[in-house]
């Protein structure tokens, strides 16, 4: 579904991604784990064109997307819940969700599935986004990304700053979205243990390079990963 080959990207002169190749197949949950500054978020931003890829190719459903502007990539069926949630604090939950599909009129937007997986959003529908709790904002951010009914959902650190029990709920919901809505998911996480347990496959990112990749189960057993990311979790 998504094949990225040898991509590198830069912030000015600083190289953030170094020759990265990843692949996401239809129906999978793939996680990308790594510590702070490893380039996880940059990778997601590069995939959807916010940060341009200087070299390499990104192919989504047989189309080269590395040269397309972000909004066109997203209209092809990719959607992102950005790092730090980035909801619109002064708009209501409902308005936030409607913006999720910037091309459709209000009456053409179907929010049923989102309300089904996040009943809390329905309760808070006319409340301003900024008045929600952290977990609710994360739900809103994921919900907003789902409105355009993407075939590939990119999630950037959905567990950021949330209590462990809420993280667990969010992870369960991600699994539900994958199963029930038939959405392929690429998950970027610092919470390596949770992400690997949830996903089918994983990539480990260190300093802008993929160091280890494979089945999530194997990665969980890998002594190096255990030492670097899983100890104490």
């Amino acid at each position: 579904m998504l094949i990225a080959k040898n991509i590198s990207s830069y912030y000015g002169n600083i190289q953030a991604l170094d020759n990265i190749s990843i692949e996401v197949n239809k129906g999978e949950i793939v996680s990308i784990i790594g510590s702070n500054g490893a380039g996880k978020s940059t990778l997601l931003m590069t995939l959807c064109g916010i940060v341009p890829a200087k070299t390499g190719s990104i192919i989504f459903n047989d189309t080269e997307i590395s040269t397309l502007p972000t909004h066109e990539i997203i209209r092809m069926g990719v959607s992102q819940s950005p790092e730090g949630r980035r909801i619109f604090p002064k708009l209501t939950v409902y308005e936030n969700l409607l913006i999720g599909d910037p091309l459709k009129r209000e009456k053409d937007i179907n929010l049923e599935f989102i309300f089904e997986i996040f009943p809390r959003l329905k309760e808070r529908i006319n409340q301003r986004g900024g008045t929600l709790s952290g977990g609710e904002q994360q739900m809103l951010s994921i919900g907003r990304a789902l409105v355009s009914q993407p075939s590939l959902l990119l999630l950037d650190e959905p567990s950021l700053g949330l209590a462990p029990i809420i993280v667990k709920q969010i992870f369960e919901t991600i699994k539900r979205i994958n199963k029930e809505n038939d959405t392929t998911i690429l998950l970027v996480e610092q919470n390596a243990f949770g992400a690997l347990k949830l996903s089918d496959r994983g990539y480990v990112l260190v300093n802008g390079k993929v160091t280890i990749s494979g089945e999530s189960k194997q990665l969980l057993e890998n002594p190096e990963i255990k030492k670097a990311y899983l100890e104490g979790v």
Partner: protein
Amino acid sequence: MSSKKNFSLIIKDLIFTGLIATVLLIPIVGFRTEISTVDSTGLTFNYNFIIAFFVVAFVVGVRFLFHIYWFSKIQKKPQENSEKNKKKFLKKLNFYLGAAAAVIAFTLPFMPFANRYIVDVATLVLTYVMLGWGLNIVVGLAGLLDLGYVAFFAVGAYSYALLATTFDLSFWICLPLAGILAAFTGILLGFPVLRLRGDYLAIVTLGFGEIIRLILLNWYEFTGGPDGISRIPRPSFFGFPFARKSEDTTFHELFGLEYSTMHRIIFLYYLILILALITNFFTMKIRNLPVGRAWEALREDETACRAIGINPTNTKLTAFAIGAMFGGFAGSFFATRQGFVSPESFTFIESAIILAIVVLGGMGSQIGVVIASILLIGSTELFRELEQFRMLAFGLAMIIIMIVKPRGLLANREPSILLNKKNE
């Protein structure tokens, strides 16, 4: 709180009120200088303590009535619902304010007190209301701080003036053309500033406003330079001119009225009223459409917008173009009303006033713009006799509003779209 204690509190408050009123009113009402008829010093001092006493008594009485009907109710209000009640109250207030404003606006020219001066001032206020609503699209909805909005007003005015004087086109053809030209100018400004935000954007728009003014001033062959363009045709009532005598049927002949110069004044008033209402209606509608939603999202967080798939380029350009278009409409109205345009009418201070109207009214609030226009434009007209102190009063008013209501007069931005019960 026991009623006895309450009562003594009220008495204390009334005595205090009386004292303040006395201190204030004795010099204001009680003393009076008059031209003397007795001696040659010229002025005498008269005392009017009885009137002062009555005014003080009146103030205390009103305060007492307040205690009975107003303050007591506030105290009785249950606490837990106050937030919800407040919201409901504000919503109602907004609605009634809007309705009352519309009724007053439509009946104003036929009020007994409406003379030429009042209708003229009202027309001026409405011009600013329209400009405020137009700028509200750019600043209030899309969050793009524009310090050069008057440029679009100028483009509209000059487009109308040039089209009408050179090609002899009627007002109703020139109006949309002026709007389109202004919108085009908006896009022209939009392109170079797409990457800029906040302060930087403000500086560039400020420069843009000055550039347009300088072009108008220096391109003598085209715009007439500092002489401006005069003899701009007045609007006709759909082809029937407002004149005492004309080759065509005139307006007063059409309706069998006595000729009066007021006809045209009142017609202009209704013209700007309807133009302004169209602006308002358009803004309210577009907020519910995808592009309006995108504007509001862009104001909040541009990066998030891109992640969602909003095209920030198009979104910003449409905001600039549509805001500019309404500025252009207002400009062509201005030109036809004045009959004369010159670069002097389009200085930076105009941009600043329009922006002040939007900010003081509460960004994104439509009715707030109306109130702020009445306050700023109406009050400067009112204080016309103070001359150079006018700007001082203007500045003071702005400072006071910003201290008391830092987010604008009506800062409660109503959500544009609510999920109705029927959808649930």
